[in-house]
């Protein structure tokens, strides 16, 4: 039996993931060069997939939000080497047109009813486009994020630390006027990031706020780097939310405009 015949005899086992690593590589080499083997494998894999698909199982309700949150975080983390085309910039976030928002209203976002907002902050929040609430971060993702961040910058290290916190919750939402924001919220830290933000006219800056039931406290003026911002808000407590506004250069003591996005854990 030639080596190829030997490998060909493994196609069924390969389709069931019942081979070891060396055998797997041998099969992959074979099908890359042998159309007949590739055809056979294609049909064997299609059959094998039916075996899995036919299992009766109801996915947990929280899985969807958890997966989409993880993907949003991945996408935000990739902002420095964007997979997306450059996003058009506008002067004023509030005035941007649909063309300036390539991520349209089908975007992954979640307008929550008023009742989901912490009491006390409602008056100020009620004008905001959307309040976005998060889902818990699965530890598997936290670990992956951590591993990916190990060789990265301090800020990414901060992200990894925050993600490893068992209380971490991911929230993701569209920014009114363009861009999207992702935050990881824990009981004592919050990491905010946004990408695709329109550039502001001179004399305006983006500012991040930690919003508690009673008040909003500045978490700093955000320096936008090509429409991307990232900020660690250390002065954050369980139940607080993050909000981003446009403020006069230098920032404000208290928010003076309607938040463009609010991210909350619950």
């Amino acid at each position: 039996m030639s080596e190829n015949d030997e490998t060909r005899s493994l196609l069924g086992a390969y389709a069931l993931d019942a081979v070891d690593d060396l055998e797997r590589q041998a099969v992959e080499r074979l099908v890359a060069s042998d159309d007949e083997a590739a055809d056979e494998l294609r049909s064997l894999q299609a059959v094998a997939a039916r075996l899995g698909e036919s299992v009766r199982a109801e996915p947990p309700a929280a899985l969807r939000a958890s997966v989409l949150g993880a993907i949003a975080a991945e996408a935000a983390g990739q902002s420095r080497t964007p997979r997306h085309a450059a996003e058009p910039a506008t002067d004023q976030p509030g005035a941007s047109s649909t063309e300036a928002r390539p991520t349209s209203d089908e975007q992954v976002s979640r307008p929550a009813p008023v009742t989901h907002r912490p009491r006390g902050a409602q008056r100020w929040w009620s004008l905001a486009a959307a309040v976005v609430v998060g889902a818990a971060v699965p530890s598997a993702i936290a670990i992956q994020q951590h591993q990916r961040a190990e060789h990265a910058t301090t800020q990414q290290q901060a992200l990894a630390d925050v993600l490893r916190d068992p209380s971490a919750v991911l929230a993701h939402g569209e920014v009114q006027g363009g861009g999207s924001a992702t935050a990881v919220l824990t009981d004592d830290d919050a990491l905010f990031s946004a990408t695709g933000l329109p550039s502001l006219s001179d004399g305006k800056v983006y500012q991040l706020w930690v919003v508690s039931k009673e008040a909003a406290a500045s978490a700093g003026v955000l320096s936008a780097d090509g429409g991307s911002v990232r900020q660690l808000a250390g002065d954050f407590s369980s139940g607080d939310a993050l909000a981003m506004t446009v403020e006069p250069a230098g920032g404000s003591q208290q928010p003076t405009t309607t938040p463009l996005v609010i991210l909350s854990a619950s």
């Binding site: 069924g12 069931l16 059959v47 996915p59 929280a62 997966v67």
Partner: protein, 215 residues
Amino acid sequence: MLLLLASSGARRVPVGRGVRPYGTLARVVQASESMSDAPELLAAVAAGDQDAFARLYDQLERPVFGTCVGVLRDPDHAAEVAQEVWVEVWRTADRFDAARGSARTWVVTLAHRRAVDRVRSVQAQRDRDQRVLDESGERPFDVVADEVETMLEQVRVRDCLQTLTETQHRAVVLAYYGGKTYREVADTLGAALPTVKSRIRDGLLRLKDCLGVAA
């Protein structure tokens, strides 16, 4: 960790199937009835389109999760692996090659592989479980086969499995749902390696005819 999701009710948002926080429900429902746009969705996902990802997820959530449960049994484990699978789909969607099979098969195949990886990485625990089974006098194949029997919701797949010869049936079930390599299957069945390899292949080809799977 799904444990975390389940136990932290205070901060968990109600995202049951009735509440669709992402995307537009009507289109998602329509899309799941025709699978034909999965390849286009994967292409869009490869380009970084999160909306396309959400729609792909809605189409393939159940086959992915079902595949994980089929191998792992434990729903919490299955959910963890399913989550890893979806992140991998996001990261590697550009590797999908429509010439090599359907988008659905690509995603489900990935799910099976990761579920099997998980089984093998917890092999030590499984070996301990296995000893308990052995001591109770049950044969592993019967255990796996019984579990599989109750898990399968598609009568057709169940019936088609019954059309296989005993060795084909055992080899396919132990490998696919048991996460065993064909060498382990050969050990378990006391059969020669070439026999097991050909029984698996023959068994799958018979299933293909029975199920009418188009390649």
